[in-house]
Amino acid sequence: MTELVSIPGHWDFDYTYFAGEAASRFFAELRNTRVMGATCPDCRRVLVPARSFCDACFQRTTDWVEVGPEGTLETFTIITAAFPGLPEPPIVMAYVTLDGADTALVNLVLGLDLSDIGAAAAGLQRQPRVRVQYGPEPQGRITDFAFVLA
């Protein structure tokens, strides 16, 4: 039998992602502790996080409006297993519709008691009110804030 050859490999590519003006402005507003949405002139939805076009109407967005800081937790997961390259569990991640927004945005939910996963999940299934909480040193990234129970 021929000895089967395998060769170790590493998959590593460099990228520079341009956030663009709309996301840059969204991040700048985050540093001012404001979460912004952009309005589609056709469907009138306030899209959060703000972006420059509405994909449903294939139209450029216009007016920017501040939303939140409170909102409703829509859906969530509690990550309980560790995966290589990803943060240590347990982690609660949720989509939240901030007041004044028509769409939900994803972020982590902090400060929950996760000693009993089932009980924590049951509480979150009741769609609690949450609010935006900013970290101590905003970097102008989406991770500058997280959600906590209101």
Binding site: L4, A19, T75, T77, I79, F83, L86, D102, A104
Partner: protein, 387 residues
């Protein structure tokens, strides 16, 4: 459709974690040779080859299908539409045949993820790097976000997910190509480790390698051959933004609007009006049990709120189609190929060639594809009758 298109040949490798004995090109060739042999055609009869390979990062090779280019001089294209790569590839080949530009098309999809040391890290890099990639979004957590919403909105329980998974594993015991051959009860599923609430390990799909190929042809080639006709096929894409769909009036994140729209179009072309009665087999691209539950109302099998009850009905009502007789993606998920495997399995059922997993007297079957951020959906109706 100007020229009707049929599946004339099916080829599949086995699906398993790794195929160290085969190169990527070997796997593609193995599936393609078997499909051509099944169709009784040589490569010379083929006028176009379409290959489907999605995330290159999972193979750690870029455009790996190019190493297997065959029949020098033939048109050769590469499709990459994530989870629906396999069905998109088949549909692309069908367009070449239906347009009259190809008498026969060879479509082949390959998954080489056995070369990846970790899939979930790769899957995190599919998300938008500006607003979302910083979070632990992966295929598993994305499914979990939908599953918890399904439980809240339509009343599913963790037990429902476990029942679906146990049925899929049971069916896979009769499929020699499946990756996992496990005797699993719903209790075993619930007792398996929690990955991301409410998803347990045994509700998630495995990482599988393998290749699947189909030979597609029109009326002239189908004459005298055992053909499974494509009676309807449709593909629909949705918004990437999952958050935009949570409160969408025309269909929320868990309503699978893209699948629903595809089903409407494919059923109309196929003349299907009562899917509960008109299909003998349903092969779903649902890598998680909860994802399978989402397809029931979208495909017209039940009203959304009746989903949990429909899981029971499948066990009690023999007039209903058989769901995933192959075991489905929970028993083997070669990502790039999975949506083509669904079509292949339906074609085998319609042609009466499905071996131990054959369902009796299948006149018509439906295969789905699902990919992206609950975003790309395909529906393919296959049957014995020429459309």
């Amino acid at each position: 459709m100007s020229e009707p298109v049929a599946v004339l040949g099916v080829g599949q490798t086995t699906y398993k974690r790794r195929h160290p004995e085969s190169s990527a090109a070997d796997l593609i060739w193995a599936a393609a040779e078997e499909a051509l042999a099944d169709a009784g055609l040589g490569i010379d009869a083929v006028d176009v080859i379409i290959a489907g390979v999605a995330p290159d990062a999972l193979a750690g090779e870029n455009c790996v299908e190019k190493t297997a280019i065959f029949g020098t001089g033939k048109p050769f294209l590469r499709v990459n539409t994530g989870g629906v790569t396999g069905s998109s590839t088949a549909f692309a080949g069908a367009s070449y045949v239906a347009s009259g530009r190809a008498r026969a098309a060879l479509v082949v999809s390959l998954e080489r993820m056995g070369q990846a040391s970790t899939s979930q890290r790769v899957f995190n890099t599919i998300f938008d790097p500006v607003y979302e990639k910083d979070f632990p979004l992966t295929t598993i957590t994305m499914a979990a976000l939908r599953a918890s919403m399904l439980m809240r909105v339509y009343g599913y329980s963790e037990r429902d997910w476990a029942e679906i998974a146990a049925r899929n594993y049971r069916h896979a015991l009769r499929n020699p190509l499946a990756h996992l051959h496990l005797e699993v009860t719903p209790e075993d599923v619930l007792d398996s480790p929690l990955l991301a609430w409410p998803i347990h390990r045994l509700e998630a799909c495995p990482m599988s390698e393998g290749a699947c190929a189909l030979v597609l042809g029109g009326r002239d080639l189908a004459a005298g051959r055992n053909a499974a006709w494509i009676q309807g096929m449709a593909s629909t894409s949705d918004s990437y933004a999952m958050g935009d769909r949570i409160r969408r009036p025309e269909g929320s994140l868990v309503d699978l609007l893209s699948l629903q729209r595809s089903a409407v179009r494919a059923y109309a072309d196929a003349g299907v009006s009562d899917p509960r009665k008109e299909f003998g087999v349903v092969e779903l691209y649902s890598p998680f049990s909860s994802a399978e539950a989402m397809t029931y109302p979208a495909l017209g099998f039940c009203a959304p709120l009746d989903g949990p009850r429909f899981i029971q009905e499948q066990q009690e009502d023999p007039s209903l189609p058989v769901f995933n007789p192959s075991g489905g993606p929970q028993a083997a998920n070669p990502v790039s190929a999975t949506a083509m495997v669904r079509i292949a399995e339906c074609a085998l059922q319609v042609r009466g060639l499905a071996g131990d997993r054959q369902v009796a007297d299948v006149r018509r079957a439906v295969a789905t594809g699902q990919g992206g951020a609950t975003q790309f959906s395909t529906v393919c109706v296959l049957g014995t009758q020429t459309p």
